[in-house]
Symmetry: D2
Subunit: 294 residues, 4 copies
């Protein structure tokens, strides 16, 4: 253990570095050497190369350094000189700076409840700053937990205005938008303001059931699994990079209502995991997929 290492370790001493660049020799050596030179002790180093030939080098480093908050600027400024040599996209985040979330919902409460609850229990290391909804149904839920609730109704006529209002509330105030069963298509402007920072959850089936009433169709086909997918939102609806998926087992005894119940349970579990990984900087998007260093 280095003499410099702080003890006991608090979030104030922990930093995370995420790097994406074209693969090539010497990147790991340069990064780890740089951090070492600034007194950092690497405690978790996860790296992935998408292809040994001509692939992309992706890296997440967690490190401990005394008094990180004060030294951060110095580390960043040095690293910004190193980065162009490898054509790196990168970011350095202090563990102590928790991500700020806006949660957008409609009427279903299960995904919202799970996030509020996990945040309170400490399992979700983020600050939920606001709940925005096109309906009033979930206002009491937000109130109970002391989270500001904004009711922004959406009609075809007011959709553009409504979203502008939501954006005004969110920009500068939150880092990440979670669509926790928000039943409206979000605009390009929102996606542009939160690139790879907007997370959606939706049900998933094997096979897929296209069109209206997927649960009804799934019941008619007698599916044995009900799934959910959490993904980053992109312009191509429900086709963005997948962060997490899971399934629950069902059988012929389950009614359509039971399938929905199973779906709700797996949706909230999957969304909670995806958001937790996101806010701990464990997810890197590469092309249309995610690399999750969990």
């Amino acid at each position: 253990m280095s003499v410099e290492a702080p003890y006991p370790i608090s979030d104030n001493d922990v930093g995370r570095l995420l790097v994406s660049c074209p693969d090539g020799p010497g990147i790991s050596a340069a990064v780890t050497g740089y951090l070492f030179g600034h007194g950092a002790n690497i405690t978790d180093f996860q790296q992935f190369t998408t292809d040994p030939v001509g692939g992309r080098f992706l890296l997440r480093v967690e490190f401990v350094v005394s008094d990180f908050e004060r030294r951060r600027r110095e580390i960043e400024s040095g690293f910004s000189e190193l980065a162009p040599r490898f054509r790196m996209t990168w970011r350095l985040t202090p563990a102590a700076r928790r991500k700020r979330l806006a949660i957008m919902v409609s009427k279903a409460d299960h995904a919202l409840q799970e996030l509020l609850w996990q945040q309170r229990s400490g399992d979700l290391r983020a600050d939920i700053r606001m709940v925005i909804s096109n309906h009033r149904d979930l206002e009491p839920v937000a109130r109970v937990w002391g989270i500001p609730f904004h009711h922004i109704p959406v009609t075809p006529a007011t959709k553009a205005d409504a979203e502008a209002r939501a954006l005004d509330l969110m920009i500068g105030e939150v880092d990440t938008v979670v669509l926790a069963r928000y039943m409206q298509i979000v605009s390009r402007r929102l996606l542009a303001a939160f690139p790879n920072q907007a997370i959606n959850i939706h049900h998933s089936f094997l096979p897929a059931f296209v069109g209206a009433d997927p649960y009804g169709k799934a019941a008619e086909r007698g599916v044995k699994l009900i799934g959910a997918t959490a993904h980053y939102v992109t312009e191509d609806l429900d086709a963005g990079p997948i962060i997490e998926q899971d399934v629950a087992r069902v059988d012929h005894r389950q009614s359509v209502a039971d399938l929905r119940r199973a779906g709700r349970f797996v949706e909230r579990a999957v969304l909670a995991r995806a958001v937790a990984w996101h806010v701990e900087d464990r997810v890197i998007v590469h092309e249309n997929k995610t690399v999750v260093f969990n």
Copy 2:
């Protein structure tokens, strides 16, 4: 315990009755009363009504009766008088009469190996009578296990003839056809000869990836689950009643080859379970779904 009950019980004393009819009062009473009147002791009774109002009544009964093979005709003939009263579709099968299977394959061996192996270990209670393939690759596999192997090449020009040859081999010789990664579309004639008796296995993803190279597309999207679906074959390709499904977990480290490997493992597990349930008369098809009494 009834005085009549045989002891110890062997498969020769065990019968299975499957019933499907419009729901209504008195069906269970009539069936159980009838079996009771013929000295049968019911050891497993599983019933499901698709809808409490106007639904379909589906039933699987397993019963023990001394010397069932001899008494079977008498029980059947009596039951055929009872059945019309409730507009029943039904069948009575002796547990001792194992289903005879044809397995159709192309080049991939994993699904075939699993079935051969489970049959030998006693986990699959069926007789595998033949392996039919449009390629010669798996002939040694069948030979090792002592199963007749028929090579029936298929080309666009010979497809109709080839299938006619396969049908000639199978009709009267087998009860069930398992498409264990058989990469040809089977004809209506085969489906007509084996209605709800032909089982297929294919990979499944959440979401579905349509068109060629689904594993490649799944890798590009970064799916976290690889699935498989076993279903009865119907004219509408891959849309028949689902018997069983399962998934395996994958992540970004898995190459396309690794996804295929995971897919193979889950395919053979899912197919083996589906075939085992089928041959034990545990599957009833209702409309486009299955009721599995497992």
Copy 3:
């Protein structure tokens, strides 16, 4: 569909009959015939015989009959004449009469929150009548949901008195006691008052880690799965009939705190399923095991 059948069906028209008796011929026939004779339409019939020779016959029937609440006494009194013929233990419960629960907790809130939440969403079809705790920590949680909270401190000196107070609160007021991370051993008196009606949840590992700090030991051994078991409480601590079990996957990256987090998630899922099955009369205890007709 019978002319008598009510439409639309409400919980007021639905009854459930549970039967346990020595196996023998004619039981199903007698039960279904009896219900048929009283105008009931059987919508779900699940039966299991523990052993084809000399086993126990276990049955759950769900049926629909017009105006069940009014007819119930008549059905019951007739059935009590039939039952001795087969030496039946049985009970008839109206679906409309929801089970009343007491939830006993200590400091951990996850299991309690899940039950309160599922109750409110309608997934748990029961009435939570009270929360009893030996600590005050979870009083605000109960208050938010409007459930009476009783603080009954327990010390070695007061343990007998404390439990007597809890029993006074519960007897006659609730049907079922859920130990949702209640960290006290309950007395024989409580078990006698709620035989097979007290449900406990605890963590489970493969292999088991005996003694103090099981999570610490599990982490030292590098377990890959964290499990939970819900069971009926019996005098033999943690050895009562298992209702439900499940596991969550972990790996070396998880700290002891992370294992506990995973454990909490699986505990609340497992307990919620077990309680839901119990309150829907889906669980029959036979010897030291459960038969779950789910």
Copy 4:
């Protein structure tokens, strides 16, 4: 992509470096810098520190270098000068040098079959050099696959001799011993000859059932999950570092025979994954746990 990188990449160009040492600053930098200096391109870098303060630094690096087989000695000799600086335990293995396995079995064939099969399909990247058994039952299985089979009967009187014979066969010929349902306790001599290189598989339950007939006891208690654990063998029976675990779902309908069937399936899946990770140098043992870089 570096100019030096070979294309296309074959196993001959791939090396793996495993490192374990006390944590401290500069280790990653030193290792990656060293490999970079020798023209290696790092394609997978997985690192884990057991504790940020005073923990152990564990590392697996996969790298590509032209003509690795020729350069290996040079890389190794340089690294052996670097290693003492950090008090490293380390090993460098060429991907092209496949691990050689001995499989020890008794009468059950499922685990052996799965390994033979996965080896043949290419999913298990190892050479199975011999099967050793205290019974003759599985000789035909080994013969079919063309693997030498050695029958070494074990009786209380001959146990020491028998194991000496087995050791004679294995030492120098194989790197790893897989106990694939070998129902004899292996000696300290064998463990000393194959430290952290002998893998065992056994069933696991939640909770554990101690003593004889665990499946019978599990059935009596009505367990809902059947599990399996693969671990390195140590002197403390069945208490060595766990490599992999999994479970299968069962219910009251399963007989003891069915539980065993479920157990066999999960055992072969778990053992196959554990052996695959081991032979790809993905497992590092630290104290009594494993770190699996899969």
